[in-house]
């Protein structure tokens, strides 16, 4: 069966423990992710690899062996590097594991995405980071302790699969509504409209509007409305103001 997750690949660079490759293959398979690429692994085909793969032999058999990271990423459109902790550097957009799953689920339909894992002890080199467009880290209780590489792959694959499932459910629900989410600009226009209407009925003091509008922004911001819901809200406001709001307008 074709799955969105077929567009996601896991790249492991210079993995030194053969068991970790096997555990990673099993972790991937549990979450329905099959495309494994190995850059210069150490003793990849050891009995330990197979033992720990524990039934994910198909993933090992189809794993692509590469000599450079460039070769492994040749057909990928977006590359996310994994990092042991949230980096202080602002050179790359940063995500945590959950945000990464959401990002991946949103972008998989249009592009092939790679999650890249560095060496067990030292992670990705600066040169390897140059191939990445974003970085992901898994939240942990301690800064100076680290996840096993297969455990990290397990969590990220889990978050990606869960996000793809949630997206499928949401888009089924949206399809039922046949609607697009409102744009940030449409929301801004709604808040301007709301503020004007509230000033007209003296509910809002235009000389001191801040706290109330901030609370209303927080409140309506949580709705994450569709465009047609914003149209309903603005239609209600216009009715309260005694005039009509053109439902098709994005003004």
């Amino acid at each position: 069966m074709k799955s969105l997750l077929d567009q996601l690949c896991i790249v492991m660079i210079h993995t030194s423990h053969p068991g970790n490759v096997g555990s990673a293959a099993r972790a991937m398979k549990t979450m329905g992710i099959h495309d494994l690429r190995l850059v210069n692994p150490t003793r990849f085909n050891s009995p330990e690899t197979k033992a720990l793969a524990s039934g994910a032999d198909d993933i090992l058999a189809n794993a692509r062996l590469c000599t450079t990271l460039q070769e492994a990423l040749a057909d990928c459109h977006y590359v996310i590097g994994t990092s042991a902790r949230s980096e202080r550097s602002l050179r790359w957009p940063q995500m945590d594991a959950c945000e990464c799953g959401i990002w991946v689920a949103e972008h998989l339909p249009k592009q092939k995405i790679a999650l890249v894992f560095g060496r067990e002890r030292t992670g990705l080199t600066n040169e390897e980071l140059e191939h990445c467009q974003a970085l992901v880290h898994i939240p942990m209780a301690f800064d100076f302790f680290s996840l096993n590489i297969a455990a990290a792959i397990q969590i990220l694959c889990y978050e990606c699969m869960m996000a793809v499932r949630r997206t499928a459910q949401t888009s089924a629900a949206n399809h039922e509504l046949d609607e697009e989410p409102a744009t940030a600009a449409a929301m801004e226009n709604f808040f301007t409209h709301l503020e004007t209407a509230l000033v007209e009925v003296d509910y809002l003091d235009p000389d001191n509007p801040r706290l109330l509008m901030r609370r209303l922004r927080r409140l309506f911001g949580r709705i994450n409305p569709t465009q047609s819901e914003v149209n309903i809200l603005r239609g209600m406001l216009a009715a309260f103001q005694g005039r009509k709001f053109a439902r098709r307008s994005n003004s």
Copy 2:
């Protein structure tokens, strides 16, 4: 530092691979969970256990060795068994990993909770299940493939830690607002008020109100507002109607 997660313990029953106990200890430590209890483990103190614990030696050193599950659970108030898949049986409340994290975060302050993991190949026996009040499963891509036990512990510990963090953030935000969520009755009163106001301005046809009110219920239902936010919404409605809504009233 004291942490809510000190109230959560992991119980492994008859674990046959010593490496899995080591990997489980590492998985726990990454997520700040320290209380490990082992019921009749096989060759627990092997070099492989230590190697895979990789710095989580404190968890192994403090692990409680028990001869029965009862002994391991003696001080626990709530016991959640892990199951390879969502059970068809309705004898136990079922949760997935994410729901389990939320449940644990909600209930930890008041009780000690145990997550119980059965044997690697066969899981929990019927007799062991009798000690559980609920079951948790980790969603997977396939029904007939299984997670490594340490990988399962990794995901559940991750979900519990993430949920505890989110709860701490939410309660900090609620504390900032110093507010209670609105009751269902307060929401009903708001919807009645909204409907009346919309009929007054001819936005809603009282002879055919159903679809619009249903959409508005869905929309405002997503806000999950606090009581004082409902008061603001009703205050706005009253202002649009040209009269005052007593902010302290729950009518």
